[in-house]
Amino acid sequence: MTEEIIIAGFGGQGVLSMGKILAYSGMMQGEEVSWMPSYGPEMRGGTANVTVILSDDRISSPYLKVYDTAIILNQQSMDKFEHSVKPGGVLIYDPNGIIDHPTRTDIAIYQIEGNRLATEMGNKKVFNMIVLGGFLKVKPIVQLDNVIAGLKKSLPERYHHLIPLNKEAITKGMQHIISYKVESALIDH
């Protein structure tokens, strides 16, 4: 198994930490992992992305052109990464704030309303865990137990009381991710 993922959105959405938790989860499961962020003076509201690779084998390039899965959380990232998904790959996005929806028909596309669900849960910060849950529903590459173990490993002790809330968010994401058909969207227009 090798899963090459790009997660892209605004700084402050928890893009990098979502990738980090995914990488930790993979590590808890005994996989090889790499986590390569875009870095620099990106502020809240700027763009941020991270490439996460989980594999049974030694990982070669941590930096990629095409991905098995793209998790897209804002319009700029949609413009940049929709066409970086390998044919037959997966694109997951939050429709919140998206004007130009994806149009590719050679990939599987899913919507997760992370923003809305996080607001409903009364904690905007669990947004990224909802999206992660959605991803894990579509690509169950790591078991939930290992995600929880990864959370424990990555979070400082003082935040461990938040683990149940994160677990709830992941479960919520798993329940609410829906398939998105490009044809139907075009007819809607």
Binding site: K20, A23, Y24, M27, E32, V33, S34, W35, M36, P37, Y39, G40, P41, I59, S60, S61, P62, Y63, L64, K65, V66, K153, S154
Partner: protein, 363 residues
């Protein structure tokens, strides 16, 4: 107990410094390597091992603090990124001239000038061709993973003390910023002061006790003496070439074409090897782990086997010159690389091989 962790390259390097039993780290913040000093400050190494960590007033001061501690036989290191390393080169030249052991880390970013904070490998010439003034070389280790960012710290100290010479770890923003699994080595004890005095008493300035005074200097105003010093340095470099060359060959056995790449580019090139072989193109990868010494002989042997070589670096072509020197014109050698902070993809590397080497009429 060795310990498995998920860490950034910069953090792994910092943790490895503590575990390697380093006595001191002196640094100055610069992107993309500030995590090194941030991690060290957070970890309180003074309490863990007694290691001294100090944020200097400049990169210049930091390297000279390393020089001071090294002159007394202590295991001292510093780290920076390209513009900061330029500032350190005066001190590096002094370390080489005064024959002092020390570890310097460059987490490269794009240049020239203030350049960019994104990854680059454009400091190859600076690293292996001197950089600072005078007749000297650095032993240069090029880590290609977070694991190697960790492992190479104690390796670097070992080499530095074996030869009493400065050692450079030449990394880049990609390796420094990425997270991977890393197996951390067990904690090594710092060397007690009495042991330092006993072991390095023949040269270190630890206080004149029961012996004649020691002088650490790089100055020799008598030309014959200075020439002898330079030749002594050159002998060390020859010994490094004989005894401490490191490289890795990946899928070279049946290779008809060859990538030569180090550090982050070697990771990208390795993926390109995989993509090429999926297309039926037999490519191998030679990864120099040490950039000085350079695997010249290995390249010359491979030059008799392959039809062409592509040197892949995040620069406009620096290491390619050493590859060409090594193969002595026996096989076409071309360069490919993005620069200025752009990173080449495995697909781009493969495409460059196909266009510059395979379909090129010259072979």
């Amino acid at each position: 107990m060795s310990e498995l962790r998920l860490m950034k390259g910069n953090e792994a390097l910092a943790e490895a410094a503590i575990r390697a039993g380093a006595d001191a780290y002196f640094g100055y913040p610069i992107t993309p390597q500030s995590e090194v000093i941030e991690y060290l400050m957070t970890e309180r190494p003074e309490e863990r091992t007694g290691m001294v960590v100090l944020q200097a007033e400049s990169e210049v001061a930091a390297i000279n603090m390393v020089y001071g501690a090294a002159s007394t036989g202590k295991r001292a290191m510093t780290s920076s990124s390209s513009p900061g390393v330029s500032l350190k080169l005066e001190g590096v030249s002094y370390l080489a001239g005064a024959e002092l052991p020390a570890v310097i880390v460059n987490v490269m970013r794009g240049g020239p000038g203030l350049g960019t904070i994104q990854p680059s490998q454009a400091d190859y010439f600076q690293a292996v061709k001197g950089g600072g003034h005078g007749d000297y070389k650095l032993y240069v280790l090029a880590p290609a993973s977070v694991q190697e960012m960790s492992d190479f710290v104690s390796d670097a100290f070992d080499i530095a003390f074996k030869y009493r010479a400065p050692v450079l770890i030449l990394s880049d923003g990609l390796i420094g910023q990425m997270m991977e699994k890393v197996v951390l080595k067990d904690q090594k004890d710092r060397m007690p002061d009495e042991e330092i005095i006993k072991r390095y008493g023949s040269w270190a300035t630890t206080g004149k006790k029961g012996r004649e005074r020691n002088i650490v200097t790089s100055l020799d105003l008598i030309p014959e003496k200075m020439e002898a010093r330079v030749h002594r340095l050159m002998k060390k470099y020859e010994q490094m070439e004989r005894e401490d060359l490191r490289y890795e060959m990946i899928q070279c056995e049946d290779a008809e074409y060859l990538f030569v790449a180090y550090g982050s580019s070697s990771r990208i090139a390795q993926k390109a090897v995989q993509l090429a072989r999926e297309k039926g193109i037999k490519v191998g990868l030679l990864r120099p782990i040490t950039l000085f010494p350079f695997p010249k002989q290995q390249l010359l042997v491979l030059a008799h086997q392959v039809k062409g070589i592509l040197s892949v670096e995040l620069s406009t072509g620096q290491m390619v010159e050493d590859v060409r020197l090594a193969v002595k014109g026996r096989v076409p050698v071309k360069h490919y690389g993005r620069t200025g902070g752009s990173i080449h993809t495995p697909e781009e590397v493969l495409e460059a091989l196909e266009q510059k080497i395979i379909s090129d009429g010259s072979n």
